[in-house]
Symmetry: C2
Subunit: 210 residues, 2 copies
DNA sequence: AATGCGTTAGATAGATCAATCTATTATATT
DNA sequence: AATATAATAGATTGATCTATCTAACGCATT
């Protein structure tokens, strides 16, 4: 419903959407580095090169609303990343491990600052703001669904695909956290290997001829 | 060095250590619920029922120092928990899965507020304060070492024990995060099961007769 | 040209933040 | 008992935070 309004809105207006999107993306990037609570709105407008007045023009409910939109944006964007990753290999375990290794590269390339905006927002605010918690959960759910779809395409039974995807997503999120604390890719590399083995083993029982 | 000073200090003084420890524990608990940046020092003193002046008496460097001590306390405390958990079962995979299920109970019993103080501090501040990052990393390292010791006791080769422990720890941290966003134990239950299977499979190759 | 609306612009308020400061109370040692 | 030091107590400061407010600007359509 709101999405329909939004896309209609976007098709009519031009420049303003840029500002709105720049604010969302700046928030999302800052939340990755320093969390939701650690990020000030002044900093968001500065990073987005957006005027202060525009922030409350586009997000009348303030920081919480911006957080929800940042979570939605990250949810949709990285779900697409997961979808693409399953095209990297016909072996689902291999594709999943590649995501871990790619994430390790991203962390290394950003001095371990470029983490997950959903995880940091969840740990900061999920217990205090129900709307933000739901937005974070929906982002995780989109990612989980993308992983499930990747397993489904290889004939995985629905229930196993769901459980396995929850495991893959959890392992990824935790490995990012541990790797950031250590400033080392080790957690991602080791976790990625064990996750791949688990996926490969599960995939052996799947019916590829479906 | 500082630890020697501290224990000497503690053996002489009585009540003050209570206050100091109450501040650390209050900080640790608040960081779990709402993260490092989301927690105000006023709130810490209120929760600890400690006078404001005592905070800067015991932690002259302020919030960062309190965060380091909270991370150290959590590191030592939960390392002991991991150590105990390996006494719960002779099968290491079973013991590890029990930790996942116990964590699920802790989350359920706290309305999914009682998360990991190290993870939330890492995602909030690890990129901005090197001392805090190191303290978080040391906490994760203590936990990882405790898990390694559990595997070693079953004859695991050192290198495999290290990698497997990094995987177990990452999966646990991520599952807590995802479970909190969902307000559901599912991520912990599913992740715990796949982690147990991975540990069991690895343990089959270990020499129990050492 | 005039009108209307979306957007920009930034000053400002009011609350809260971390941190500093002085003074008082409690405790241990001499 | 006297002294020194640790700990308590809380007022206060200056910075920063979120949010509100008014005014101006840009750009359509009329």
């Amino acid at each position: 419903m709101e999405n329909d309004c939004e896309s209609l809105y976007r098709s009519r207006m031009g420049k303003s959407v840029d500002t709105r999107l720049r604010l969302i993306r700046a928030a999302e990037q800052l939340f990755r580095v320093q969390g939701f609570s650690g990020t000030g709105l002044k900093q968001v407008t500065a990073e987005a090169k957006a005027p202060w007045g525009s922030l409350y023009h586009f997000f009348p409910a303030g920081k919480a609303e911006l957080g929800v939109e940042a979570a939605r944006w990250a949810g949709a964007y990285y779900a697409e990343g997961w979808r693409r990753s399953f095209g990297w290999s016909d072996v689902p375990g291999e594709a999943v491990e590649q995501v871990f290794l790619m994430e390790a590269k991203i962390l290394e390339g950003s001095d371990y600052r470029n983490g997950c905006p959903i995880a940091s927002t969840t740990l900061d605010i999920a217990s205090l703001d129900e709307n933000l918690r739901l937005a974070c959960n929906e982002a995780f759910d989109l990612w989980r669904a993308a992983i499930v779809a990747g397993f489904d395409a290889h004939g995985a039974p629905g229930e196993e695909a769901e459980a396995l995807a929850a495991f893959v997503l959890s392992a990824m999120e935790g490995a990012i956290t541990v790797a950031r604390a250590a400033k080392s890719p080790e957690a991602l590399v080791h976790t990625g290997r064990y996750v791949r083995e688990a996926v490969d083993r599960a995939a052996q029982t799947w019916d590829e001829s479906r």
